[in-house]
């Protein structure tokens, strides 16, 4: 048993083989080892959602898992949302609705909202609030954030 382990994972569509310290969280590895600093570090106890990434289709707090646990998994971070033609409809909606204030919570909000829309393309306001209940916004832009998710869902439907 070693202090580091080589893991095979797909991050934002790219297959990677990474040597990670077994006592580092996924958040540590994303930010410090492979420079994906879009994912934010904040409470590190699972309360704020700033570190949210999507793993095998589900949103999770990267601060609450060891990097070795994603061996064999598929991870999407906020850097993976952009499409070839530019921002994703959801990202665009955040800008249009003025949902981004200081911006710190936004990567996490985007990831939670992306996962929500993948599962439920036509959510109600209630469902959006529940889907994003694990994401705190210090600037309290909740109303705009909810509107942005709604707008993106409508856009996708059209």
């Amino acid at each position: 048993m070693n202090r580091t382990l080589t893991i095979e994972t797909t991050i934002n569509g790219r297959r990677r083989s990474l040597d990670v310290a077994v006592n580092h969280t996924l958040l540590d590895v994303l930010r410090d080892d492979i420079d994906l600093t879009g994912t934010k570090e904040c409470c590190v106890v699972g309360e704020c959602g700033a570190c949210t990434v999507i793993i095998d289709g589900r949103p999770m707090n990267s601060c609450l898992m060891l990097a070795v646990e994603i061996d064999g998994s598929e991870v999407t971070t906020v850097e993976g949302l952009e499409l070839e033609e530019g921002l994703s409809p959801l990202q665009g909606a955040f800008l249009d609705e003025g949902a981004t204030q200081c911006g710190f919570c936004i990567p996490g909000q985007l990831m939670a909202a992306t996962a929500l829309l993948q599962q439920n393309p036509d959510p109600t306001v209630e469902e959006i609030q529940e889907g994003l209940a694990g994401n705190l916004c210090r600037c309290a832009g909740y109303e705009q954030i909810t509107k942005a998710v709604l707008a993106a869902a409508r856009g996708v439907k059209q």
């Binding site: 048993m1 609450l64 898992m65 694990g134």
Partner: protein, 289 residues
Amino acid sequence: MNRFQYARPETVGEAVALLEEHGDDARLLAGGTDLVIELRNRWVEPKVVIDLKRIPDLAPAIVERDGFLSISASTVMTDIAEDERVQRYFPALVESAVVVGSVQIRARATMAGNICNGSPAADTAPPLLVYDAVVVVAGSDGERRVPIDDFIVGPGKTALQRGELVTAIELPIPERPYGAAYTRLTRRRGTDLASITLCAGVDADGQARIAYGSVGPRAFLVEDESGILGDSTIPSEDKIDSLDQIFYRASPSLKSLRASPDYRLAMLRVLGARALETAIGRLTKELVS
């Protein structure tokens, strides 16, 4: 985090052997939503962390077998809440699973972990008590089955002995109509520990039981001896004395920042009455269908 070794056993036997070898120096990792916090804060400094998620026998699965619904150790809250059989037979368990943490946490946290951590506030403990769940424990001598009421011991303590781990939690599928409901008290919506967790169950004869947590060292299950709590013809206000008897084991901490003891005791009655009403309503629906 301290430096530890990361072990990834592929069988229950290997995991048991590691536990026997390392004893208190080993920690089991399932969802990790509690463990990773403990590691980071150095509340625990294990020499070995044993990841259970690569053991095929513990892989996420909910299966019906011999009159039980068996939920494997690495099944997460989201899977439990979304399972159609759990929804049908054990609605109170669904209600407890969907309030754990946030979407992100429910996608990761396991029910077995929720119980094994021994938190007095564990959301799934009261419904598991009401539904008479059985914990399947593996050790070097094979498997044993422990009723959940005996498995839960106290803060951070369970009936697990050195070298043992939980492989599944089994719920007996009710043969007769049964009504149960879960409710809890928190300061706010979203990620918060409950100040009260409570589940009420009523069987087809009108016999009621209530399990409640977060108001003492562990969640307690108490049968209604008065026989009136499950009676739908008796109005809630006339059930207060019987409810107070049910809550005799509550001893809320004076030191808690979440809610004062008086408030918790007063709210126990309110939540108790509410959960009973829902449970009776569900039972009635079952009886007519």
